[in-house]
């Protein structure tokens, strides 16, 4: 099962894609995706309900979040009321170790994304702040990466023994599915996703042309 773990819709301040159009695009272009996760910036979108769209398109549409820490941006999967109460998602300077610990405590998982990117990725910050305890998974393939950013992320994962996931980081429709994560087992809901991410039966994959 292949899921794009990192995408943004018009609910993000810099997102320009409607979720319906992501689905339409995936089907029209026959992308090898079974679904995607919406990770809107600095917020938890509790209201949006994509079950009808899932039924219509046969795609798995899950919700996460992308928050900001002193080490850069971090994807959160398994967001629930407890985690929303524990963290101020709108902050630009959340302490990463608190995000990782809170996610773990609340049954979620934190995944630092685009680690190779300057300022908003963790690679550069590891040089000055040192490694962050508790991190287990990072995004090693990001569809928006430039230059050697993905190679740097892969090297970081190898150095610290992190598992790697992939996501497109799509902000416009046609970028969905550029990178994704291939799971050995089926994922039907966000609980399945968190459970699988805690294991190791998956790999980051790239479909960039």
């Amino acid at each position: 099962m292949i899921l794009d773990l990192h995408s943004h819709s018009i609910r993000s301040d810099d997102g320009r894609a409607k979720v319906e159009n992501y689905c339409q695009w995936i089907r029209k272009r026959e992308l090898p995706l079974d679904g995607f996760v919406l990770t809107e910036h600095r917020q938890w979108d509790a209201k949006s309900d994509y079950r009808k769209l899932e039924d219509e398109t046969g795609l798995c549409i899950l919700k996460g979040s992308e928050v900001e820490t002193e080490y850069g941006h971090v994807l959160l999967f398994g967001v629930n009321d407890d985690l929303v109460a524990a963290l101020d998602f709108s902050r630009l300077d959340l302490p990463l170790h608190e995000v990782v610990a809170a996610a773990d405590r609340c049954g979620a998982i934190a995944v630092p994304c685009h680690p190779g990117r300057v300022t908003v990725g963790m690679c550069a910050h590891y040089g000055t702040l040192g490694p962050c305890e508790g991190v287990q998974v990072i995004e090693t393939l990001n569809g928006g990466s430039r230059g050697t950013e993905n190679e740097e992320a892969i090297a970081l994962a190898e150095q610290y023994g992190y598992r790697g996931v992939g996501g497109s980081d799509a902000h416009i429709v046609s970028f969905i599915g550029r990178c994704a994560t291939k799971f050995e087992r089926e994922i039907r809901d966000i609980g399945d996703l968190v459970s699988e991410l805690r294991g190791d039966a998956y790999e980051a994959v790239s479909f960039k042309e």
Binding site: R16, W25, R29, R146, G147, H171, V173
Partner: protein
């Protein structure tokens, strides 16, 4: 009167606009900045731009927007451009080889409105500018 113009019925979801390589050499950029009163060193002088911390002279953002607007209008002459919405991901360098791409990603039939994803990438295939255009096409 409508001969040669693209109508809503001519367009398909997922349709690619013709790709093109805009002229962003120093001479073309200087011509643009002279015309717009933006003849500043970060656009017109690689060495001076580097002293300002840039990797070289950069193409002005509004020139990129103009290039994308021109691409849309070349594809659909006579269309009404309602919005060009750009996200500048990284600098587009003067004298680089850029490629502009567009693809139809939304169609609102009742209003004859089409949304197009737009990108400008460099020779490494890295997206430097992305965005969307909202255009209204005439009825068939």
């Amino acid at each position: 009167m409508n001969e040669g113009k693209k109508s809503f019925a001519d367009v398909e979801f997922g349709e690619d606009l013709p790709e093109f390589h805009p002229a962003i050499d120093m001479k073309s950029v200087k011509r643009f900045t002279d015309a717009t009163g933006m003849s500043w060193s970060r656009f017109n002088d690689h060495e001076e731009a580097k002293k300002q911390g840039l990797p070289g002279a950069i193409v002005p953002g509004i020139m990129s927007q103009g290039i994308l607007a021109a691409m849309v209008n070349n594809w659909a002459p006579g269309c009404t451009t309602l919005k060009i919405d750009t996200i500048f991901r990284a600098s587009l360098l003067v004298d680089s080889t850029a490629t502009c791409r567009g693809v139809v990603t939304d169609m609102v039939e009742d209003e004859g409105i089409v949304e197009v994803d737009l990108t400008i990438s460099n020779e490494a295939g890295e997206t430097r500018v992305m965005g969307t255009a909202l255009i209204r096409l005439q009825d068939a």
